[in-house]
């Protein structure tokens, strides 16, 4: 290849010279160049090595279909592999390098694979490294796992950076009446027509300039069109790819904001991921020129014809000196003429014999001729050509470039995303889009129109179609017929030369050859979906944009069928690759998910809390003093609660206001225990079951007034319970007059627990009489005031098993409440306690939480049978009695002690019988803590048959994950104060 920059061609800005590095050497280009055009201008032919055979590869195209020039851009944490050089805009300081080569693309040791190529056919790796049956039957996976890492290293693309991505990405949203994809003649015509009809229009263009294929015309003025579009109020989004169409006219866009800038500002995202909600979509995505399969059709210097036109007229690069063009259609002749006018020696080989074409005769046309082999390895030396009817050596012509045009494939990808199958058009030898029932209209060459006037007409027709479908107008319209060339295309996918073993490529990027397709056929992989997966045809970055049709035609020929009978694979999003960063947007690091904090979050931290995540919530974990460890702190806090008093932030509990005349009836239906006789001023612990009889959640409900309750739920199930109550009221029990409102955020809660808790609260409330044992007995509720006239709700509820109160104030008063109670608690040597101590206290008492109520447990399993009323029906009451939930060998809640009290164990330990340690055993340990009260480790969990069955038996705790095993004994889950004397004190 002898490419060079021409002085009087191209639309690049020659006043602005950009320097860049390619494979560690310095080069220059101009503003307006792509990396590919700059490399060509510097006459760099080899830009990569192929996937499997490590064959030298050059630039095949000028756009997104590129399957050869995949390069790595940037370095260190900004290293971005598999970037198409043909779409990467050049910027000052750009650093790029070739891939899949060692030491470099010009001299690659992996090239040895090319000579071993006959072994590397489709399925080679799997066949070879899965083991040889029958000797290694059943062992194949292990053998494959061993070899896989070496294979992956040898065959591959560029490698991604393993460092954290320093760039930021954004998600953005927009709405419009009409979105037009593609700014070629048809798209622009559609957008203008729509804007003139007062539609709100977004025009999306993947290139940095509007114009589409017109950018390859030497007299095209891009700025004029841009101004016209802008003046009409059309939102133009360049450097933006519509990568997928989704339900309800939703379009996914990827906007490359800074990929073309050498030093982007840090506050600008690298890419934006757009979700556009449109009322109608017009796709004018163009068509993609195909290559032709023949021997050595991948030698650097091979390119599509249209690409060389782009390089000439847009970038001012003449891509060869002696150029052979092989074609089967009319589209190449304008390019041939322009290339020869630009100074190249051009020969056109046309496979057709009978056709008329008007040219200025500046180049030679050989009718009925096809190429069948390229001579050369790193560059083209000459081309063997033959008569098209009988492939046999007739002549060799000297050339440094071979341009191919095997016809055009309309870009039907986006429509295919919507499940619309394209239909084969014999006269144009391509798949054309079918009509969609959704509001999607295809225009321009993506519906198989080959001349500009037809494209423009189709754009206007497309907008009329949109207006009609949107009910805005009722106008007749018609689309021009597909086609537009003077002479019909003659199908040409492969030139088969039987006397040579050279490779003939169908899919350049994955090194799929015509022989691979034939092998797939021989081995029975004849469905296109099997063909694709067996040979990996069309599975690389380009997703078969160039090679798919060739593969299909070969399979059709082998099966003696027509292409439409063979079918085509389904295109799925994305149209071109989308970076993971753009998909995740800002949802990374600590923004990965929402963060919920309680109103006293800062107060907790200021008072020494170490925090822990509970669901989305940040909750105090423990409050260490000086050098205390988690365990030291937890033991001190739990002991203090049992001895004097402790206070704990419990705001994260779900809180629901239940109001209305039927509130009591409602609670009576959703809770398993009775609420019909709960007095005003009392609270009750309740359990909710699911429809299927399994425990959903537990909590308390406080009767504040005749028709008003305040419900608390567990932290984790708060949202689910709220939705459940709404579902019941809105869908099942629509006759009940009840209103439920989530008030979780409105109330801040604290638990004051311990023998001294009443005295502490006494000092905190305005009227010290309200918290006496008489006024506020166990499960009593009162609405009163904290000192400073702060309204509050107090209930005497205990999770720790001590005399305890829950106090709620409006969230705004959270800090004041904490200051007040903490000041008074300190007087009694009280402490602040966190979740770790809370856990220890409740495990000692055998109180269950989410660790036990895991969606598999019944009331009976949890040892709470008394909570299931026999006098009424409630949600789950019928189903909890079904057979499988009544089996004798259900796992029942129990406590566990290590037989040797000095030993420890972990949650997750499997409980087994002594001489039968295997499988799932007979039970499991769900929660474990050190009990300050008992002075050793204790656990809660489940065992088949429960306490009665295993009371005096030595069991074994197996913990294979941690390689531990210990002897256990089963005890009552109520391990401390089983009679609850402290609670009622």
């Amino acid at each position: 290849m002898k490419a060079k920059r021409l002085d009087n061609y191209g639309k690049i800005n020659r006043d602005k010279i950009l320097s860049f590095r390619w494979d560690k050497k310095n080069y220059t280009g101009f503003e307006g160049d792509t990396l590919a055009s700059a490399l060509l201008a510097n006459n760099i032919g080899i830009v990569g090595r192929s996937f499997k055979y490590h064959r030298p590869r050059g630039i095949f195209s000028s756009g997104v279909e590129e399957s050869g020039a995949l390069v790595t851009i940037g370095s260190k944490d900004r290293r971005d592999p598999n970037v198409r050089a043909t779409t990467q805009e050049l910027y000052n300081g750009l650093e790029a390098s070739g891939q899949n080569a060692f030491p470099n693309v010009n001299f690659d040791l992996g090239g040895i694979n090319n000579y071993l190529g006959r072994f590397f056919s489709a399925g080679f790796y799997y066949k070879t490294f899965m083991g040889i049956p029958p000797f290694e039957w059943g062992r194949g996976t292990a053998i494959w796992m061993f070899f896989e890492k070496f294979i992956r290293k040898a065959a591959g693309m560029g490698s991604a950076s393993v460092l954290p991505d320093p760039d930021s990405y954004e998600h953005a949203h927009d709405f419009c009446d009409l979105i037009v994809v593609g700014s070629g003649p048809s798209g622009v015509a559609a957008a203008i027509e729509a804007a003139e009809k007062k539609l709100d229009v977004i025009l999306v263009e993947q290139d940095n300039l509007v114009g589409g294929d017109q950018l390859a015309e030497n007299d095209f003025d891009n700025s004029q069109i841009k101004n016209q579009l802008e003046n009409l109020g059309i939102k133009i989004m360049t450097r933006t790819t519509a990568f997928g169409l989704y339900d309800n006219c939703v379009v996914g866009l990827l906007e490359r904001v800074t990929d073309h800038i050498s030093a982007p500002k840090v506050n600008i995202p690298r890419q934006r991921f757009w979700t556009i909600r449109a009322k109608h979509i017009i796709v004018g995505a163009g068509a993609i020129e195909r290559h032709i399969a023949f021997n050595n059709n991948d030698i650097p210097g091979v390119m599509t014809v249209n690409a060389s036109k782009h390089y000439l007229n847009r970038y001012g690069v003449l891509t060869g000196k002696r150029i052979a063009i092989a074609t089967n259609n009319d589209s190449v002749y304008e390019t041939a003429q322009q290339l020869s006018e630009a100074g190249a020696n051009v020969t056109v080989l046309d496979s057709r014999t009978n056709f008329e074409i008007e040219t200025n005769k500046s180049f030679e046309i050989r009718k009925g001729c096809v190429p069948y082999n390229i001579n050369g390895s790193k560059k083209i030396v000459s081309l063997d050509i033959s008569k098209s009817e009988n492939i046999n050596k007739s002549e060799t012509i000297n050339c440094d470039q071979v341009l191919l045009s095997g016809g055009w494939s309309p870009a039907v990808h986006l429509l295919s995303h919507r499940g619309v199958k394209p239909k084969w058009d014999y006269s144009n030898a391509c798949f054309l889009p079918s009509d969609s029932k959704e509001n999607i209209t295809m225009v321009g060459s993506s519906r198989g129109l080959w001349n500009k006037n037809d494209c423009i007409a189709s754009g206007i027709a497309g907008t009329t179609d949109a207006l009609n479908r949107l009910g805005i107008s009722k106008t007749n319209y018609f689309f021009p017929k597909p086609g537009g060339w003077k002479n019909p295309i003659q199908p040409l996918y492969e030139v088969k030369y039987k006397k040579s073993r050279s490779k003939s490529f169908v899919d350049y990027q994955h090194d799929v050859t015509t022989d691979d397709v034939r092998l797939a056929h021989r081995e029975g992989f004849i469905s296109v979906e099997h063909l694709k997966r067996y040979t990996t045809l069309g599975m690389a970055n380009d997703q078969g944009k160039m090679g798919n049709i060739i593969g299909l035609s070969l399979m059709a020929e082998l099966l003696n069928k027509e292409i439409p009978e063979v079918g085509t694979t389904v295109f799925r999003p994305p149209y071109t690759p989308v970076s993971i960063g753009a998909l995740s947007g800002r949802n990374v690091g600590k923004h990965f998910r929402p963060l919920r904090v309680t109103p006293m979050h800062q107060w907790n931290i200021d008072h020494g809390a170490k925090m822990i995540e509970v669901g989305l919530y940040q909750r105090p974990w423990y409050y260490p003093k000086e050098n205390e460890t988690l365990s030291d702190s937890c033991i001190r806090e739990a002991s203090t609660v049992r001895k004097t008093v402790g206070i704990c932030d419990i705001t994260s509990l779900g809180k629901i206001a239940i109001q209305g005349p039927d509130s009591t009836e409602f609670l009576n239906r959703i809770y398993s225990n009775s609420f019909s006789k709960l007095q005003v001023g009392k609270a009750r612990y309740g359990i909710m079951l699911r429809d299927d009889g399994i425990v959903m959640d537990d909590g308390t409900s406080w009767r504040l007034a005749e028709n008003e309750y305040f419900m608390t739920t567990s932290t984790g199930e708060a949202a689910k319970v709220m939705s459940w109550l709404e579902e019941l009221l809105q869908t099942r029990w629509t006759d009940l007059n009840v209103n439920v409102t989530s008030v979780s955020e409105q109330w801040a809660g604290v638990s004051v627990a311990g023998p001294k808790s009443r005295e502490v609260l006494n000092n905190c409330v305005d009227d010290s009489l309200v918290v006496t044992n008489n006024n506020l007995p166990f499960m009593g509720v009162t609405s009163t005031f904290l000192k400073g006239n702060i309204p509050c709700r107090i209930a005497r509820i205990s999770f720790s098993g001590e005399l305890a109160f829950e106090v709620y104030v409006k969230s705004d008063f959270a800090n004041t409440m904490m200051d007040l109670i903490w000041e008074n608690a300190k007087k009694y040597d009280g402490c602040l306690y966190g979740l770790e101590a809370l856990g220890a206290l409740r495990v000692e008492k055998g109180h269950v939480t989410a660790a036990e109520l895991d969606g598999r447990v019944t009331i009976d399993d949890a040892g709470l049978s008394k909570m299931a009323s026999t006098k009424k029906s409630y949600i789950g009451s019928a189903m909890r009695k079904r057979g499988v939930l009544k089996n004798n060998d259900r796992e029942i809640l129990v406590g566990f002690f290590p037989t040797n009290l000095k030993e420890t164990f972990n949650a997750g330990t499997i409980v087994c019988e002594k001489n039968n340690i295997k499988g799932q055993g007979i039970g499991r340990i769900t929660s474990v803590t050190y009990s300050p009260e008992l002075g050793h480790w204790i656990g809660l969990g489940f065992v088949k048959g429960g306490l009665d069955k295993w009371k005096d038996t030595n069991l074994v705790g197996a913990d294979p994950v941690r390689n531990k095993q210990m002897n256990l004994k089963v005890v009552s889950p109520h391990m401390v104060d089983p009679k609850g004397e402290r609670m009622y004190a």
Binding site: N248, R277, E726, Q730, S873, Y874, A878, M879, R882
Partner: protein
């Protein structure tokens, strides 16, 4: 992406909603037999085509909706509140 036209909030992305389930089930009374409940809870038709299903506008107005949606194309024919009183309000405001 499915877009659901909430009678109260207008057309919104499906990510604002939570899927409920079959909207055509008549749940038996609480004192009904285990057999009746089993049928109501565990037996579902796998419909190809339009079906009535409940959706909860959980990140919106919190209304439970009956949505008539095609399981093949995601096309939505109708959306209305589950609660009959709310249905009347919507009808009257049309």
């Amino acid at each position: 992406m499915i877009r659901i036209n909430c009678p109260y909030c207008g057309e919104r992305d499906h990510s604002e909603f939570s899927y409920g389930g079959d909207a055509t089930i008549n749940y038996p009374s609480l004192d009904a037999s285990e057999k009746e409940w089993t049928r109501a809870i565990f037996f579902r038709k796998n419909i190809k085509g339009f079906q009535f299903e409940t959706w909860h506008h959980s990140n919106g107005c919190r209304m439970w909706l009956v949505v008539e949606r095609s399981t093949v194309t995601h096309e939505i024919k109708s959306v209305k509140p589950c609660h009959p009183d709310l249905q009347k309000v919507v009808e009257n405001n049309k």
